[in-house]
């Protein structure tokens, strides 16, 4: 019966057949893991700290990308979840003297609950209104953290000091190496889980709702529940990153979580690639290293340099780094 339909135009057909530019995924994994382990042996401790921070930002940006990139709910307030996660970790370590690893699931769960609480009413807000509402969250959180009534826990303006954990079982690693390993391991786990999620019916539903809400409903997708749950999961992941950041930086204070942090995460998402799983890795590297680079180029106006690099990036890579990687096979073939 199909042959009775008109044939597709040849332009489409030629684009369909993909000649064999394929890399064995196992090889990619091996290269990736080797690259991740390399800094342990080569990088000095400050560089290792920067890489740890980049991995943490990558996790946070991944969280943002789930809700904004894949589900189409623009959040300019994810720094708030990052801050809550960081404070949960700091308070658990400093005030309750709990083991460092226990702070990570706790921060994730608490941020997930907060995310659910914010995601539910946010359903009524579309597009720019949601963006502004989440942004007001980002503006409010640093001030809430200074609130006198909770000063005993949060340390008020002073913040809370914590210490990095030592490597257990007498492993021959210093604190920075150990934390790098932990962070990269957690990041790897979160990224694999996110990839699985996005390849599943849930991931498809998230994208379907973004693309056409009415049709998504007709396909049996419960938009209210899916959007709220996506917001919660997204907050969970970003909160987990926040907890890691408290441990890595060994300090939390209201000033570490200004509203610009939310914008930084957003920039990382766009630079890395909206609605991409690996994009946030490049986003994390960008937001950690490019400001430093800008500072090296010009001490007096690093913001200007940063802005120029950012614009150049968006100009050269409109789909983010992930967009370039997606086009790479085609570009190589054309040679």
């Amino acid at each position: 019966m199909a042959s009775q339909f008109s044939e597709a135009p040849p332009s489409l057909r030629s684009g369909v057949v993909r000649p064999g530019f394929r890399v064995d995924p196992r090889l990619l994994w091996a290269i990736g893991i080797a690259l991740l382990l390399l800094p342990l042996f080569t990088a000095e401790s400050y560089r290792l700290f920067q890489l740890t921070l980049a991995a943490i930002y990558a996790i946070a940006i991944l969280g943002l990308n789930l809700v904004t990139g894949y589900n189409g709910q623009i959040s300019l307030g994810h720094g708030a979840f990052y801050a809550v996660g960081a404070y949960v970790a700091a308070i658990m370590l400093d005030k309750l003297s709990l083991p460092w690893w226990s702070t990570l699931p706790a921060a994730a769960v608490i941020c997930g609950i907060v995310g659910w609480g914010i995601g539910r009413p946010a359903l009524r807000l579309g597009g720019l209104y949601l963006a502004l509402t989440t942004f007001s969250l980002a503006v409010a959180v640093p001030q809430i953290l200074k609130y006198k009534g909770i000063e005993d826990w949060t340390g008020g303006v002073q913040g809370v000091l914590v210490t990095k954990p030592d490597a257990p079982f007498g492993l021959p690693l210093d604190v920075d190496q150990f934390l790098y390993l932990v962070t990269v391991g957690i990041a790897l786990g979160v990224f694999v889980l996110a990839r699985n999620l996005m390849a599943s019916r849930i991931g498809r539903a998230m994208m379907a709702i973004r693309d056409h809400a009415l049709a998504a409903e007709a396909m049996g997708m419960d938009i209210a529940n899916l959007k709220t749950a996506t917001f919660a999961v997204s907050a969970m992941i970003t909160g987990l990153a926040g907890a890691l950041s408290a441990i890595a930086v060994e300090f939390v204070s209201p000033d570490s979580f200004q509203a610009t942090l939310s914008i930084t995460l957003f920039v990382g998402m766009v630079v890395g690639g909206v609605a991409s799983i690996i994009g946030p890795i490049f986003g994390g590297l960008f937001v950690v290293f490019v400001p430093n680079l800008a500072e090296e180029i010009s001490k007096s106006a690093p913001g200007v340099i940063y802005g120029c690099i950012l614009i150049a990036f968006l100009f050269v890579l409109p789909g983010g780094v992930a967009g370039l990687l997606r086009r790479l096979p085609a570009l190589l073939r054309r040679r």
């Binding site: 889980l193 849930i202 498809r204 009415l214 396909m219 049996g220």
Partner: protein, 262 residues
């Protein structure tokens, strides 16, 4: 479930008002099991309003709609697919950034159960149901000759092919009732000719009923077992294509100009 004699879809005394305007004023009809039913009427007759009511997108102001004896007119929209009502849209409502295959798989959403956790951890239950859905998607893509485009973003396909993706997306959940909103709209002659045969094939293979709203009179009369004609929000005829074509009200309201022309 009601007995064999009962209709699959029962539409009873449906009234739809928008503000002070009555778009549909008390329409009743049935769609039987395995039946292809055409819903026709001139522009503004209320077909689309009625169609949207059956697919759950509008709530009727009065009356009720039942599928297999179960009242569905007060259920939320996202329940319809799970109950066995699949639909296509008049002006295409595909997930444009997703590939053809992803679009078709999205149609299987209501048949899956895996939640966030099961999907992220790839629990056996979730991978099993994903494999089943992928198998059905593969079969549908093959049946509709869409395999070659499976990995292309759907927005890149020509209109007629996108309509086929919509059909595959509606069929993957194995609906009992398929609602088609102007399936011939925007298609060329040969494509419309192929549709009638396609609908009969689909009915046979998927064991379903079809309700279509369609302007293309030729197609409706050729493909339908039963035709319901509306005018000014009221039913003016209900019967076989031959009966409906012979009804004086239909001739004057709808086929009149065509009869003159012929």
């Amino acid at each position: 479930m009601s007995g064999n004699s009962a209709a699959l879809l029962e539409v009873r005394d449906i009234v739809i008002r928008f503000g002070g305007v009555t778009a549909v004023g008390g329409v009743s009809f049935d769609v039987g099991r395995h039946q292809i039913c055409g819903l026709i009427g001139p522009n503004g007759a209320g077909k689309t309003s009625l169609f949207n009511c059956i697919s759950g997108f509008y709530r009727p102001s009065e009356g009720q709609i039942s599928l297999e004896g179960q009242k569905i007119s007060d259920l939320p929209r996202h329940r319809m697919m799970g109950l066995g009502i699949g639909r296509t849209f008049q002006n295409l409502a595909l997930f444009r950034s997703m590939t053809v295959r992803q679009n078709v798989l999205a149609g299987a959403h209501s048949q899956g159960k895996a939640g966030f956790l099961a999907a992220a951890l790839r629990l056996p239950s979730s991978t099993r149901e994903a494999r089943e859905a992928e198998e059905r998607a593969r079969a549908l893509l093959a049946m509709l000759d869409l395999e070659q485009f499976a990995e292309i973003p759907v927005a890149g396909l020509p209109f007629g092919w996108q309509k086929r993706v919509e059909l595959a997306r509606a069929l993957i959940s194995r609906p009992k009732l398929l609602l088609l909103d102007e399936p011939a709209g925007g298609l060329n002659h040969s494509e419309v000719d192929a549709l009638a045969e396609l609908f009969h094939d689909i009915r046979r293979q998927f064991d379903l009923s079809i309700l279509l709203v369609e302007h293309h009179m030729n197609l409706v009369m050729r493909v339908s077992d039963k035709v319901v004609a509306l005018n000014f929000g009221r039913k003016i005829a209900d019967g076989t294509p031959a009966e409906v074509r012979a009804t004086p009200e239909v001739i004057s309201a709808y086929l009149g100009e065509q009869a003159h022309a012929a």
